[in-house]
Symmetry: C2
Subunit: 389 residues, 2 copies
């Protein structure tokens, strides 16, 4: 097989991530590489920690990017908290809750899974009932914005319940961070992990994490050493947090430049303005999709503003439509995963991708592709929703 056949195509990335990135972030990656112990790079690490704390709305000193993608962040969070034999509860309403349960089992936890229909969110009562049946529990894990369904889970009441049972509260904020309110300190989230390639609009490759004092205490009080060396925060914090700058591994330099620039952009826009943009434009997208004649998976009150799941109409081919969007319009949207495969499309409006022009493009292109397949999409009605705004 010959190489050199790759075309680097400009895509409108409206799937579940990665999202498009600001040209400033692109440019940031071309800055000259410094060493991972260079005083200027250490300053940049400090600034990334400061900027991440603002986005997470936390004072947690231990807030930094793990040198891996979002799922590496998930493993880092679980691997540091869980010891063999610990009983934990994982709340599953999609693929990423399932993955959490899988990883927790691998690290030796006794995992109690409460699973509900994918696309739904958990009510405080069902969580309370489940926890009370299994208490005492070391940790309860849940996904904020479930990337496989686009459901946004309210967290405050559940956090209250979890802490009443004296458990640690771990939340997956991979898809939500930077696109909707994530308030670690006010909501009492003890451990979280995220990714860079969703609403932060930075390329994939880093996983911001944050551990509060209680979580750090749990790490410090472990009876067994952490199995994973790469994800061991008791060592990582000596490089990132404590000022010792003790060499652990060579940090991905350019990825940290990209994250720095992406976080500056978030800061300049302002968090609340950014949330408002995601909220307003996702409403527009959802209204336009419904005006096309499509139905959405998630109930209105629980839709994540950065990711909308659309039910694929009967007699319409998932792959055919997604293929046409990609080859004819260079638009990427996501398919369904696992039991939602072939049943939904996942349409992302994340960070830099979250622009009105992208909604207009998607609606026109999707409407046209659907009509070519015999579905009667009302493109006029859908576009007039956009014009009304």
């Amino acid at each position: 097989m010959e190489t050199s056949k790759v075309k680097f195509l400009e895509r409108t990335l409206m799937g579940p991530g990665p999202s498009n990135i600001d040209p400033r972030v692109n440019a940031a990656m071309t800055r000259p590489i410094m060493g991972h112990l260079d005083p200027e790079f250490l300053k940049l690490m400090d600034e990334n920690m400061i900027l991440l704390r603002k986005v997470f709305k936390t004072e947690n000193p231990l807030t930094f990017p793990i040198s891996a993608t979002g799922s590496g962040g998930m493993e880092a969070a679980l691997a540091n908290i869980i010891e063999p034999g610990d009983r934990v509860v994982i709340l599953v309403n999609g693929v990423f809750g399932e993955r959490m349960a899988d990883i927790a089992k691998r690290y030796g936890a006794e995992v109690k899974v409460l699973e509900i229909e994918w696309g739904k969110v958990f009510s405080p009562d069902e969580v309370k009932n489940f926890i009370s049946k299994h208490a005492p529990i070391k940790m309860v894990g849940i996904v904020h914005a479930e990337t496989s369904t686009g459901a946004l889970q309210p967290l405050e009441e559940i956090s209250y319940i979890v802490h009443n049972y004296n458990s640690l509260f771990l939340v997956d904020t991979v898809t939500s961070l930077g696109g909707t309110e994530v308030n670690l300190d006010q909501w009492g989230i003890d451990i979280t992990y995220s990714g860079t390639q969703k609403c932060l609009s930075c390329p994939p490759g880093l996983a911001p994490v944050s551990f509060n004092e209680k979580a750090v205490e749990a790490v410090n009080n472990r009876k067994n050493p952490i199995i994973s060396w790469y994800f061991d925060v008791s060592m990582l914090r000596k490089y990132w947090e404590t000022g010792e700058r003790f060499y652990h591994h060579t940090a991905p330099i350019t990825m940290n430049y990209a994250l720095w620039e992406a976080l500056k952009i978030v800061e300049e826009e302002g968090l609340e303005a950014r949330f408002e943009r995601h909220s307003k434009l996702s409403n527009l997208l959802q209204n336009a999709l419904e005006a096309l004649g499509l139905k959405l998976l998630v109930e209105k009150n629980y839709r994540a503003p950065m990711l909308t799941s659309v039910l694929i109409p009967e007699d319409i081919s998932d792959l055919d439509i997604r293929g046409k969007l990609l080859t004819q319009y260079s638009i990427e949207i996501g398919g369904g995963l696992r039991n939602l495969k072939g049943k939904i499309w996942r349409i992302g409006l994340m960070g830099y991708t979250c622009q009105k022009k992208n909604i207009a493009l998607l609606i026109s292109a999707l409407g046209q592709c659907l009509n070519d397949s015999g579905f009667k999409a009302d493109i006029n009605a859908a576009l007039s929703v956009l014009n009304g705004e």
Copy 2:
């Protein structure tokens, strides 16, 4: 603390890595981001696998970059092979051998460590004696170019011994790959991991690995599931190798672009020409350092061509000299680690950094800094070594 204080300085990176990168690699990272399941990105993944096989000199289908830095590659290699209770031998002559032993223990191995003086290499006889004492052994691990000392370990005879005892042979090629011969198939290396930020001259962030048929068989025959989810090659190969393209995690897109371009550059130069360049220029560097009046840590026959360890002369301050090189000449060199801290400097000539002009700059700058500190460095003699070539 305010942010925005970072200066992105142009450094001549002559430490143990990261190295400087070719402007083409810098440009490659600015290509538009595609999704991790985009057909064009899948082609790029295929090409990265093909190009990596060429650099590793192997036909192993399971040859791909782990989405983490070199130490993540080390963990991936060990985590997949080792099951709790397995007896393994780790040969330690520096920090990275020690790290291998640490990780192997974390994953439950019974680790037998043969440690020799740092800066030396292992003789086949001492390895044979040690293995015979502890056989049967599942795996023997060794470092090819020990980044903490600059010693280059001959591997062929040791590989023969290891296989006579029916063990798997795992080799760390983080620093050697792309700078000197690494021949997986001919040398019988069963598992290896590397990094991108050394002689491949790509930013840090990926860890190329390769598992041969015997290694894959060991993974397939495990009695216990692999503990790490992120590094589980039984799942990763469904995304990378088998053509299923089964989603595992979101690959770091831009890092894979960078690796692709870096591997193209290696291919265009030609592996043998690249090895010759590293060999010739490192000889020049070593001769020039000796002409300055400095002594080298590693015996002549076992010096890694991409990394030279210099003994710090008596009464000379490690930090003072390295600080001056950085602030006055924007040159990074490395200090010693652990028991070599304050005793050696590590001077890298890796990939794109391996140019005669960089040697001239380093020799002039280091000579001048040493003379300022009262050491009588013979700069004239050292530079005439360079001019003689």
